[in-house]
């Protein structure tokens, strides 16, 4: 490490405390997590383009991916807040199921779908609040608390709704449907909403007091408390944020697939979203993270699923490549990002 230049006493306060701007180097240094997530994604796409240029230079595959990718994006961004705050949430997918149930049941009963969606987001947020309170006020470890909550909510949905689905196809063509999952040209509207969500999350994380506090709390809770940050409140809010996002994701899922079904692939979605966060360059230990990186992480994981098949391998190889990419991405992040210890 370069030594700090000590100033001769005779020199007054006039000397600047600024280093020369290095432009591009500075930019790379500050955004290295997001950029390496982007790099992983670009390399992956290049490989796919080379393997099957016909499919990957066309637009069909992107239309297909962009239809369901937004669900993952909506889930992963708030999850990064929780991870950066030093906690974890494993209950967001079953929370999504529960919220969707609330949406589907009320919409079918004749509620205005906008009102039903609001209910779904409230249900999700309420579950997040309970997670947050259990972790911060009761003092339970978030890993086990949210794992338990995952089973609890999944069980509640299956026990309550049974195995009979609620079709939501009656919403197709309504203003509500068109607003959220309609089409803008060839682009699914939900992708636009996902980008809006990305912008909001980035603003919150990088430029808002809340994001700043989340980073401080995850970095060192003791220091944060000494400096007057309400650590329990900050963490609870992060859990509520994930919960509300689960509500939104649930409604999107219902609209995109046209059905509520209590038994959908909980585990797979959960692991894919978690992988997205870490491939996206957010480390596991808290204090730092990136929204843009998580966005590309979600893209990477989602494209692996489609890409492996389109590249000519059978679907049985999807998980293998998922694992391979996770390990390679983590190794790549590790290379340029030493962990700071206290």
């Amino acid at each position: 490490m370069a030594a700090l230049e000590r100033k001769p006493k005779s020199q007054g306060l006039s000397q600047e405390f600024t280093r020369p701007r290095r432009g591009i180097t500075d930019f790379l240094d500050k955004n290295r997590r997001a950029l390496s997530a982007l790099l992983v994604f670009v390399i992956l796409m290049l490989v796919f383009v080379i393997a099957n240029p016909k499919v990957f230079l066309g637009t069909d595959i992107y239309e297909a991916v962009f239809a369901s990718l937004p669900i993952r994006i909506v889930l992963v961004l708030p999850l990064v807040f929780v991870i950066v705050s030093g906690e974890i949430d494993l209950s967001f997918v079953s929370n999504m199921t529960l919220s969707l149930w609330a949406f589907a049941a009320t919409a079918k009963a004749g509620w205005n779908p906008f009102l039903s969606a609001l209910l779904a987001v409230s249900v999700g947020g309420f579950v997040g609040l309970i997670n947050g309170l259990l972790v911060t006020r009761v003092g339970l470890p978030s890993l086990m608390t949210t794992l338990g909550m995952n089973f609890l909510l999944q069980g509640l949905a299956i026990g309550g709704a049974g195995t009979v689905g609620i079709p939501l196809t009656f919403l197709e063509g309504t203003p509500f449907y068109n607003t959220f999952v309609g089409r803008i040209g060839n682009l699914p509207a939900q992708m636009v909403w996902a980008l809006v969500f990305l912008v909001v999350a980035t603003l919150l994380f990088n430029y808002h007091k809340f994001g700043s506090h989340v980073c401080c709390v995850g970095d060192n809770p003791e220091s944060s408390r000494e400096m007057g940050i309400q650590t329990a409140r900050v963490k609870t809010l992060a859990f509520v944020y994930v919960g509300m996002a689960a509500g939104i994701a649930g409604v999107l899922y219902g609209l995109i697939y046209g059905v509520f079904f209590a038994r959908f692939k909980t585990g797979e979605t959960m692991l894919a979203v978690l992988a997205s966060a870490f491939i996206g360059g957010t480390p596991t230990w808290g204090g730092v993270g990136t929204m843009v990186g998580a966005f590309f992480g979600a893209c990477t994981v989602r494209f692996i699923q489609t890409g492996v098949i389109e590249a000519g391998l059978t679907g049985f190889w999807t998980q293998f490549f998922n694992g391979l990419i996770i390990l390679l991405a983590l190794a790549a992040h590790k290379l340029h990002e030493p962990r700071y210890r206290y």
């Binding site: 490490m1 370069a2 700090l4 230049e5 000590r6 100033k7 306060l13 000397q15 600047e16 405390f17 600024t18 280093r19 020369p20 500050k30 603003l203 430029y207 808002h208 007091k209 809340f210 700043s212 506090h213 980073c215 401080c216 970095d219 060192n220 003791e222 220091s223 944060s224 000494e226 400096m227 007057g228 940050i229 204090g287 730092v288 700071y340 206290y342």
Partner: protein
Amino acid sequence: METKFLELKDTSKSFGKVSALDRVNFFIKGEPEIVALIGDNGAGKSTLIKIISGVHPPDSGEIHIQGEKVDHWSVAKARAVGIETVYQDRALVLQQTIARNIFMGRERTGVLGFVKGRSQLAEANRLMRTIGFTSKVFASDSVVAKLSGGERQGVAIARALYFQADLMILDEPTTALSLTESEKVFDFIRRAKESGTSCIFISHNIYHAYDVAERFVVLDRGKVVLETDRVHTTAEQLVKDMQEIARCNREGSA
């Protein structure tokens, strides 16, 4: 007579049967000054600064701020009159920028709670300059983890300045720091004083203390046994005095 910033009169404090402080008188001048608290382990240094910072209420005695007697002294009251404690663990968040560390918990916010990043950076740069932190490698948007131990202490000191501390309390600020790093910290303290902040610090190392402090208060078993200043003593004399105190102690207990 000039008004003293802080004055403790006949202050005593015991923990159970252990008397930590016994009728101690202590003051900080109205003008900025640097005072070193010296003494062996268990002499009562930490108790004294904890009383000043409001962590421990004294059992008896009076606390005067700017000549006015204050009651129900507390951390909140101490902060309100401009007494800031720089914690031994420095209360920093290492993976965050210098600016974020300085403003954590008291961010400058504008519309809807968004942080005024530029204003914070500019203010952080100003504060770091004020304490004499210059660098070609680091700026206020640098991550604290990249700084050395002394520089990190500097960030904590700059933060105390931001809180417009009139009196900064440092509990062994140079523990675990190398000589050059300690020098840096003392430089920061001198700069803080130049900008109008008094400083009390605890030190085991008399030579260190002599280097930076103007006044020395030696505590021994809960009592102030020696008060002197740079004009009236030398580092060597101070060491001799300390040895004398230690000798008296041994004979006293023998």
